[in-house]
Symmetry: C2
Subunit: 453 residues, 2 copies
């Protein structure tokens, strides 16, 4: 037992529920507001975009939500995913810390994203949706929703941030292989896209712009719905299968984490792992440290303002209270991974605000360095996004080395880097620019925040 | 039970032995010959290239060879790999056949190759090897040996067929991420490479040439050994962990295959799955049909001659009796996947010769078509090599549909296509040339076979 490296949960023990952290919050979340009336929005406001089942989950206060059996059957294609003890990394770092990682790269698209893609496609199919529109940044989400839509026979249009569309051609191709259509955003297919292109024909795009395009197309047609890969409560909740499994696997390991680490863009893989542990922290007053790791080039949690803002650049979405760099902020195109949303999931932002989690920002070079070291000792090449979590976990383990404390660290290795080797190549060839904190750009975007108190 | 799609073997039930088909052969294999004396070679002839443990396995007649515990511990990073019932593919094809597939894409490098890479690196490390040289075609092998060498701290040089080096840049990058050096072959680092470049400076390379380069470099230095990713008996044997697991998983499914299908380049993933079942066929006189699927552009089993030939283009290796297109044959560079060796594993060739297996050749377009259909219904994007097995399995299932027989089909999905999406892109864009049977080129190469009876 003592030198085991993998903790594999039997299929029969796969959790049957998602965990809804809303039920355990010491202080409730601020509601989303209608951008016209500034009143809290109701289900009817969201109905043009989402199936009712997902709207219900978005506002639910139930602690456990049952995962429908057809979704669990599809999850079983790759779930339960393995939990590893990173014994070789521990040795490499010469740390007294124990390091565990949950590995979500075993899914058919190589990341955690199918956990919610399958659920969203299922509920859409149940309610008769014929077509879905979505946005994608680095492409993990677009590929995963393409996979899910191919299973359920739903047509899919993906608006992909142009800089990633060009940097990551394999992503477009895997979406196409699954039968989806992938369009570089900003595109001339939408009013939102055309407005951006009129101002800047060379715009490299942003998640905020791509969201506007996808929302606009869904709002136009009653058989088309919109789907988001992160940020929203129901999306984060679908990811909690990750943490619920890990709770059982940590029990198998006879251990419990003192420090949890995840990377954050919109917040979904982070939430999936940490929410079930945060629930225990709230209920059982556990002394668990939780660290969100984000890129220096898009530092919403560490440098953003906690304020009501639009979820998209075109200002079509409701207003949500979150850590934001401003919906008009466009992250520098030199950042090679995902994690480039101007805001942060309202739930993650709220947890930061009430002191339940902390956040750190890292530059991409130090993250790739961590990723390469991890690959060489643990054997798995992390996705560029996941290298931020690797970096955070290594930093925590080195702190343990410095102060001689053998803490237990758990992080989410949310995906493999097999589609993203070009970024590793740029790192090796010293072509990667260091992530910069664009203070002027952020200040300008923050000035354009809607004025709400 | 009846609608299960995944049969997952518990880690504790992972087989502890490899299976050696040499022990069950109805007729023994022809021995490899020394190219100078034409006498059967002995262990001393191979000692400059391989550690003694592997030479022992190469000629062993023991039916079971124990997998050393340190290898099993590393296998557990991803093994046992899942067996799936392809229920959605069955429905899509409207066939009475039952289709199962073993999925080896869950390994850290996305294919079956680490099964032998780990074993070879382990035995080399045990015997003090400091550096290994090898060749790779499409790159599955080179990446996997790079992964294994990084675990054991062995330096690695990979000679990669130039056309693939250029077509598949991600492969070089993953080798580099694991710390290996990857060189386009033919290179000017070796005499063999220089000789080829002198004749044809634009040579796109071949596995036979890359083998010559790697063998030459290993033979020069006593601390350097050579490693091969397929063809040799011990390599095929290391892959039988695949079939040994599948035997147990088919029992879990309460089923047994009537038809086995695998793709063949050098023969290793095919052998890994089918040898344990062929053993039962020999011992228990089971009526199992076994089909090897190869590309029309490199049809060693269907169009090659069963004769003694060199394993490499530079004529540095022993002579082995196999189905060969001639060691001077260079497959057309229009073929986009792997499976491009001029010969076939002597053991697989022998099994074909004694009628234990059959072979079929497919064009790459029909294979990609099968791969895309498979991805859309089963959710996994196959590696270009693996699409040949998918095509073979689909063809067998459609035969069942035509003759109304509900046979049980089992194939090896030996890897995912995440590194190889460019080939899918070429297929979608109609840029793939159809695989051609290069009769003139093969006849010319066959004329240059060594004259041995």
């Amino acid at each position: 037992m003592s030198d085991r490296i993998k903790f594999f949960l039997e299929e029969s023990k796969m959790p049957k529920n998602w965990y809804n952290i809303a039920a355990d919050l010491p202080k409730p979340l601020s509601p989303p507001l209608h951008p016209g009336t500034l009143k809290p929005i109701g289900p009817d406001d969201l109905a043009p975009l989402f199936p009712m089942a997902l709207i219900g989950q978005e506002v639910s206060q139930d602690k456990e939500i049952e995962i429908p059996e057809p979704i669990r059957e599809i999850y079983k294609q790759w779930r339960p995913s393995p939990l590893y003890r990173a014994r070789k990394l521990e040795k490499f770092l010469d740390t007294p810390a124990k390091i565990y990682y949950k590995y979500e790269g075993v899914s058919p698209t190589g990341s955690h994203k199918p956990n919610t893609a399958i659920a969203q496609a299922f509920y859409n199919k149940e309610e008769g949706t014929k077509k879905i529109t979505t946005e994608t940044g680095a492409g993990q989400w677009g590929s995963s929703l393409a996979y899910a839509c191919s299973i359920f026979g739903i047509e899919l249009d993906v608006y992909m941030v142009k800089v990633s569309f060009e940097q990551k051609p394999y992503r477009k191709l895997i979406m196409q292989t699954y039968g989806a259509r992938c369009v570089a955003s900003p595109s001339s297919e939408t009013e939102s896209g055309k407005a951006i292109l009129a101002k800047d024909p060379n715009s490299t795009g942003s998640l905020g712009i791509a969201i506007s395009e996808a929302v606009e197309m869904a709002a136009k047609d009653k058989n088309t719905k919109y789907s988001l890969g992160s940020v929203l409560n129901h999306v984060l909740m679908h990811q909690t299968i990750v943490g619920n499994e890990t709770l059982l696997q940590m029990e198998m390991a006879g251990d419990y984490p003192d420090i949890l680490v995840g990377c954050t863009g919109g917040g979904s893989n982070f939430s999936g792992l940490v929410f079930p542990f945060l629930g225990k922290k709230f209920r059982e007053k556990k002394n668990t440290r939780v660290i969100a790791c984000e890129p220096k080039s898009c530092p919403s949690l560490t440098k953003g303002k906690y304020a009501y803002d639009f979820g998209d650049t075109g200002r079509l979405t409701p207003l949500v209270k979150m850590h934001t760099l401003g919906s008009q902020f466009i992250p520098p195109s030199t950042h090679s991974g995902g994690l480039r949303y101007h805001g942060m999931a309202p739930m993650v932002s709220h947890l930061k605000e009430i002191g339940a989690i902390e956040a750190k920002a890292y530059g991409q070079k130090e993250c790739f360095e961590a990723g390469v070291n991890f690959a060489r000792v643990e054997g798995i090449v992390p996705a560029p996004e996941a290298t931020h979590a690797v970096k955070g976990a290594i930093e925590a383990a080195l702190e343990c080395k410095n102060n001689g404390k053998g803490k237990t660290i758990l992080f989410n290795l949310c995906g493999h880097g097999h589609f993203d080797m070009k970024a590793y190549g740029d790192y090796f060839d010293n072509k990667l620019e260091e992530d910069k904190y664009d203070e002027a750009g952020i200040n300008k975007a923050l000035e354009e925040l809607p004025k709400i108190d």
